[in-house]
Structures are given as C-alpha cells and as structure tokens.
Amino acid sequence: MSNEVMNKEKWVLLFREIGLDEATMKRWHREFENRYPDGHQSFLEWLNIPHQEIVKIRAL
C-alpha cells in the first residue's frame, strides 16, 4: 500500500463527484451489508473508520 491514504472523507467526496447523493450512499451500504457483510466490514476498516462508527454504518 502506498503512503497515500484513502479515508472516509475522500471516499464520500468521490461518490458525490459522480453524482451519488446521501440516499444512494445509504442504499449502497445496505446493499453491501446484505450481500457481503464481511466484505463491508473489511472495506470500512480499510477506510480507517473507527470501530464504533463501523457498527453504526453497518446497522443503517
């Protein structure tokens, strides 16, 4: 992995740039959680999101 860190803010920005709104992002998390719960967890960890917040996002 390079030094360039991907984080939640950058990721959200990326999604906004391509036109995803809050509702769509929520739907995306739900989809992610439904179909690949472990992958969702790994992805959120990869974004360095704190554990507590990961729990909240996965419960969306």
Binding site: E4, F15, L20, W28, E31, F32, R35, Y36, G39
Partner: protein
C-alpha cells in the same frame, strides 16, 4: 526346542503375547521343560510363521485361531472377508476425508469472503444504482483525486497489473 524367550526374540514379539496365545489356544507349545517352562517345537514355529503372516494381513486372533486348522480353499474366504472389511475401512476414511476437506473449504471461503473481488465491487456499485457510465466516472474521479489510492484499491481487489494500467490510462485520458 526353543524357550519362550527365544521364540519372542525370533519374532520380535513379547513373551506376554506368546503366553496370551497359549491361554486363548491359538498356539500352545508342545513341550515343557523339567522346571515346567514352555518349549516350542519346529512344528510350533511353523504354526507361529502362519500366525505372523495372518497378523500382518490384519486378521483378528479369532479368525487366525479358526484358520490354523484349515488348509487351502477356506483361506481364500477368510482373506476375502478381510479384504471387504479393509474396503469398508477405506470407504470410512474417504468419508472422513471428504468431511474434513469440506470443513477446510468452508473455512477458507469464509476467509475469502472478507476479500472483495472485482465482481463483488461491480455488483454492489450496480446495486447502488451506478451504471457503466457511473462506474467510469468513478474511476476518472478516483484517478484524479487519489491516483495512488486508486492503484492500491485496484490491486486490493485482485485485478491484474495490465488491466490496472489500462483502467488508469483511460481514466486519465478523459
């Protein structure tokens, strides 16, 4: 005539095994010394040879005992019986092997499911309503805002270096 110790050494078995064979009637030595020690004759040793042969074929002592009196043909049926029980044991082991492989497989696929693949990503992005054009835009933005993270990301979902280069190339060109 050989003593029990000599016979034990000759066949690399313990004296207690020979005493046990005597007790259950598989092989009773034909002689006794003046002090009442067991003595084995040539004939006893011939019987012992057969016992060892049957043992190495995996026959039970019961089966051996009943075979020792018999010559020829009936041996075949005893060995056929043993063969079918070996086959059953093999089948049992195969079944165990299958179960274990299955367990290992589940274990590793549970691990793998933590790793996201390209197909996984495409399907969840589609699920969020992103079409082909939307995904293209996503790569373009990714490349523009965080080129190195874009590279890392594509590597992390297992895309080949060649394909990564072409994705990043068209992402930059637009």
């Amino acid at each position: 005539m050989l003593t029990i110790g000599q016979v034990a050494r000759k066949y690399s078995i313990s004296r207690s095994t020979l005493i046990y064979y005597d007790r259950i009637g598989v092989l009773s030595p034909s002689g006794r010394s003046d002090s009442n020690y067991r003595l084995y004759s040539e004939r006893d040793l011939k019987t012992m040879d057969r016992i060892m042969l049957f043992r190495s074929a995996g026959l039970s002592l019961d089966a051996i005992a009943s075979l020792l009196d018999i010559e020829g043909g009936d041996l075949n049926s005893a060995f056929e019986h043993r063969l079918s029980s070996i086959n059953n044991e093999i089948q049992g082991l195969r079944n165990q092997q299958k179960v274990i492989l299955k367990l290992l497989e589940n274990e590793s696929s549970a691990l793998n499911s933590r790793v996201l693949t390209k197909d996984t990503w495409v399907s969840i992005l589609k699920g969020a309503g992103l079409d082909e054009a939307g995904m293209k835009n996503w790569h373009i933005e990714f490349e523009k805002t965080s080129p190195e993270a874009h590279q890392d990301f594509l590597e992390s979902i297992g895309i080949e270096q060649g394909e990564i280069e072409s994705i990043r190339q068209w992402s930059r060109q637009v």
